[in-house]
Symmetry: C2
Subunit: 288 residues, 2 copies
């Protein structure tokens, strides 16, 4: 096996059943230089311990997953969600400071779906913008970039009312580009007829907070959240998307984030090795 | 039960297991004035017989479903697909002439997915445009409007590379508005942040060939093609979408097209009755 691409970052969700210690060890052990973490395994060991473990690993930190779930109407639950996002901002800042040089303090935000019984998609989207407004000062103070992640439209009702990169950029436009950007994830946006022009726009506006890759394939699994695949196993054209991202000047780590029950059932070592090979085959040729 | 809305048309797929005779009888028997037909049950009895049966039913004909599947590269299969679409155009003209006054000669087109092993979405979309160009003269000569149907992006790889109303209108823009329009189907486009402006644009450009309604609900079924529901059972806001369509001056029939294994397992009479009730509750209040 050739050396892993220096731009590759393993998003921890790809090796879902590894705890933080194992995730760091397997990633570094495979010669990979960066990792994206999830809140649950970080909080399992506590933030301070997690930061020390990350620092000891020598890995860069690329993103923290995730904040968001902003579509609740005014009330105690919404206030609790915002407070939880403030903790996520602090975690992100701490972990980015603990990671190796080149770490990025990026918190990925999933908007949330329609509240139960609610059909007002426009209103839910406005609440996302309002929530980001409520968090922007905290993010700025902490030096953290909030990355609005458009999710595939099949999740619009129950996971994320932000469905396109263009829509994420429209929301981000109200805020400083260092504070609010967008996550460009191939799985969610590959189908969009405007995808290349919106990637170029995201670059012009300084909003590409993270670039994430994995593949799309049908038939979808019973749980459509888990239909993500190794790059090359599906239909996404990583050449055109990666070249569009690179053309904007994006020079950060590139995460692989795969939710897939079969891949999760494999050993973390195998998954990291296969991820690195798939990255080298499909993404690396388009980085310059 | 109150009288069915005079604008309601039952798309035959909603009562999938009814043959043409039963579909016509049940629809007319419920006091509904219009029906959209599918090619298979029409061809089961033969076009001439189908036209006579439709005429005898007294129903208006609203659309013929469906043509398309245009994404194949040059070759015998593509030529066969185009020839099959020419037959569908003729069927549409014949059926529209046989239906009651106010019938519309509209052929719904589903673009087709990516050919096996192909990742060139842009190229596949160009072939859709080319195929429509190859059929436009035939459609014009027959007095038929080709309705490009954007399908939900979850079908982009295997069913339809045309995923948004805006994209359908961009393709249609190369052709006369009487010859090429778009199908506005709530299930496929409700999530689109641009949906209201694209419906308005479709109206301005004279391109709304048919308006179709059904609801979206999660979790999606194992076969994601079958996740369509009675209006009111899911999350779609029929008020804003219907008002946007009405505001364009659209005054044709409005079809209900539901693919759902549980609904198909019910009797055609029950399904038509429930469809009419759901339409009266969710769509009728927004027609003026």
């Amino acid at each position: 096996m050739s050396a892993a691409d220096p731009r590759l970052s393993i998003n921890q969700a790809t090796i879902k059943y590894a705890n933080l210690e194992e995730a760091l060890k397997v990633t570094a052990g495979a010669g990979i230089q960066a990792i994206g973490l999830w809140r649950e395994p970080v909080n399992e060991v506590g933030l301070d311990v997690a930061a020390r473990m990350l620092s000891d690993s020598g890995l860069r930190f690329s993103t923290h997953c995730r904040g968001g779930f902003f579509t609740l109407p005014e009330g105690a639950e919404r206030i609790a969600a915002l407070d939880d996002n403030r903790r996520a901002i602090e975690e992100t800042a701490t972990l980015a400071a603990a990671g190796a040089e080149g770490s990025t303090a990026v918190l990925v935000l999933v908007a949330g779906g329609l509240p139960e019984g609610d059909r007002d998609l426009v209103g839910a989207r406005e609440r996302v913008r309002d929530a980001i407004g409520a968090l922007a000062e905290d993010a700025k103070a902490a030096g953290v970039t909030l990355a609005i992640e458009p999710l595939h439209p099949m999740y619009a009702s129950d996971r994320a009312v932000v469905s396109t990169l263009g829509e994420a950029l429209d929301i981000a436009a109200d805020f400083d580009a260092h504070v609010v950007g967008a996550a460009v994830d191939t799985f969610h946006i590959w189908w969009d007829p405007q995808v290349l022009e919106q990637i170029a726009r995201a670059g012009r506006e300084g909003r590409i907070a993270t670039y994430q890759v994995c593949d799309w394939k049908t038939p979808l699994p019973v749980d459509v959240l888990l239909g993500r695949h190794y790059m090359g196993d599906g239909v996404i054209d990583f050449a055109s998307l990666t070249e569009a991202v690179v053309a904007t000047g994006y020079d950060r780590d590139i995460e692989v984030e795969i939710f897939n029950a079969d891949i999760w059932a494999d050993s973390a070592q195998n998954v990291v090795r296969r991820t690195a090979e798939a990255f080298t085959a499909t993404v690396s040729p388009h980085l310059r």
